[in-house]
């Protein structure tokens, strides 16, 4: 009988917040490089959010270890084929990029903006990595469903994008910056990400076939269908597309975030 690693809520939170960190970072970097001056709120919020999240992620990962005092032992080896090993390294590399991008986005004068843009464009790679490698990490195990899911990394990446963008829009909303152009654009980007995530999810389930049973018909199924598919994807998209003005702009963002958490929860808890 195969053994499960006993990863629970700490890892669920890590996968969720790591996705937000990666997603918020590449969203900010793309807004920085391809957007305009009116996207500065998005840029700054995204960088700083990713920095804060990556800090929390590091703490979550260390706390989850059986022997937390030995977390630096991860740095004694580098195995390029091993998601756990590269992941530990990339957490540090990504943290560095998030820190520098955040620092360069703080000053009011945009003299350092060209440097920040180039630097962040490189960091985008690590943002994408952080959002997706956790899925590949699960698929590179001996356990059924996890190892059967060819698109786990892609699905986590799509969810990292939609939740990262939702988190930025939520923060902009809360800071009273929801009237600007940047807010509209990040909402639009999030709409694309949600559609993409739905497409990946459909493909993910089709490719899995009967191996998807733990999600689609097991005891986690109500959470999967109700929490992720309906609440976390379909409703936010409908609200957005139909332009239901009576729904506060904050609701779709919150729903996307809840859905992103539920996705990590149902996937991880399949082998709790």
């Amino acid at each position: 009988m195969l053994k499960t690693p006993g990863w629970h809520l700490l890892i669920v939170w890590y996968f969720f917040l790591g996705g937000i960190a990666g997603g918020a970072y590449f969203t900010a970097a793309i807004a920085d490089n391809f957007g305009g001056s009116r996207d500065r709120g998005v840029v700054r919020t995204g960088y700083i959010l990713s920095l804060l999240m990556i800090g929390v992620c590091g703490i979550l990962l260390i706390l989850d270890l059986g022997t937390p005092s030995r977390f630096l032992n991860m740095m004694m080896h580098f195995k390029f084929w091993d998601p756990m090993s590269i992941g530990a390294w990339m957490l540090g590399v990504f943290g560095f990029f998030a820190f520098v991008s955040s620092a360069l986005s703080l000053s009011a004068d945009e003299g350092r903006a060209p440097l920040r843009r180039k630097f962040s464009l490189v960091g985008t790679i690590f943002g994408f990595f952080l959002a997706s490698y956790t899925g590949v990490l699960l698929s590179a195990t001996a356990l059924p469903f996890w190892s059967d899911a060819r698109l786990m990394g892609a699905l986590f990446l799509a969810s990292g994008a939609s939740t990262g963008m939702a988190a930025i829009s939520l923060l902009l909303y809360l800071s009273g910056d929801s009237a600007g152009e940047g807010f509209k654009k990040v909402k639009r980007a999030d709409r694309f990400a949600i559609v993409f995530e739905m497409a990946v999810l459909v493909l993910f389930l089709v490719l899995l076939g009967s191996a998807a049973a733990p999600l689609t018909s097991g005891h986690l199924a109500p959470l999967f269908w109700g929490g992720l598919v309906v609440l976390g994807l379909v409703i936010p998209l409908l609200v957005d597309v139909l332009g239901a003005r009576w729904v506060p702009a904050v609701i779709p963002a919150v729903l996307v975030l809840v859905g992103g958490f539920i996705l990590r929860y149902v996937v991880v808890m399949t082998h709790a």
Binding site: K3, M74, V136, S147, R188, A189, V200
Partner: protein
């Protein structure tokens, strides 16, 4: 590297006495565990952080309705391509000069990735020490000219210890002999160095197909998925990136929401 050592477990000779299981516990100073009712004589049910050797008692229904005992002393396979070793980010799991796979308890930090990467469900997390545990191939004993405690204790030579090449030749002869005697299901598991996982350094002679013993017919290396899944993730990243660029792109300085 020294000549590869191996254990050959010939299940046709096992009488289910569990001397191996007890010798393992004693030599490795493994504490007792709460027994678990398995509905069979087998105890314990699974490998744990405190049980590295385990005699499986399998009851196989016969055509006449009676049950046939299939006994198998199971252990870590010390795979030539070991999923746990490849998954270990700290290097705690390493290959010894004898080809065995061992967990350095002074290095392991308890991330538990190895636990989910073993195709046989061998590696177990020890919550008391916060580290992963499994059969050490009696690393201390083999470095002092002694065989593993289980092989030493086995009264029927069902568990044999020696150089891999010699044991493999012996195993081939034995399986041919059993077939001659009419045991048509007799087969070797893990002896082939070109087979799954590059061969197992603890290999077996089974009297029935592997799945009867709850062994995977064709164990796979978990890391086989990394490349394909990474490429698919990169593809997804490119698509997400393009949609984000489209969403944020400034059109002639206007950039209104007309996507």
């Amino acid at each position: 590297m020294a000549r590869t050592l191996a254990m050959f477990t010939d299940t046709s000779l096992c009488i289910g006495c569990r001397a191996c299981q007890v010798a393992c516990k004693q030599w490795n100073e493994l504490p007792m565990e709460e027994p678990e009712w398995t509905g069979s004589y087998q105890n314990h049910a699974h490998f744990t952080d405190k049980t590295y050797r385990l005699v499986r008692f399998i009851e196989k229904p016969q055509p006449n309705g009676e049950l046939q005992w299939l006994l198998m002393s199971d252990v870590c396979k010390h795979c030539a391509q070991a999923g746990c070793l490849q998954a270990c980010p700290t290097g705690a799991i390493h290959r010894t000069e004898y080809g065995t796979v061992n967990i350095n308890q002074d290095v392991c930090n308890g991330c538990r990735y190895c636990v989910s990467s073993c195709p046989f469900g061998v590696v177990a997390f020890n919550a008391d020490t916060g580290r992963a545990n499994k059969c050490t191939f009696c690393n201390d004993r083999i470095h002092n000219g002694l065989g593993p405690a289980c092989a030493k204790a086995c009264p029927t030579e069902s568990i044999q210890f020696g150089f891999r090449d010699e044991l493999a030749a012996k195993a081939e002869k034995r399986v041919a002999k059993l077939k001659e005697m009419g045991y048509t299901g007799a087969q070797l598991y893990g002896v082939d160095s070109n087979g799954p996982l590059g061969g197992l350094n603890a290999f077996f002679l089974l009297l029935d197909k592997p799945s009867t013993y709850n062994l995977p017919e064709k164990p796979l290396l978990p890391q086989r998925n990394v490349l394909v899944d990474s490429v698919l993730s990169v593809g997804a990243a490119l698509l997400v990136g393009v949609t984000a660029v489209v969403a944020f792109r400034e059109r002639g300085g206007k950039g209104a929401g007309d996507a």
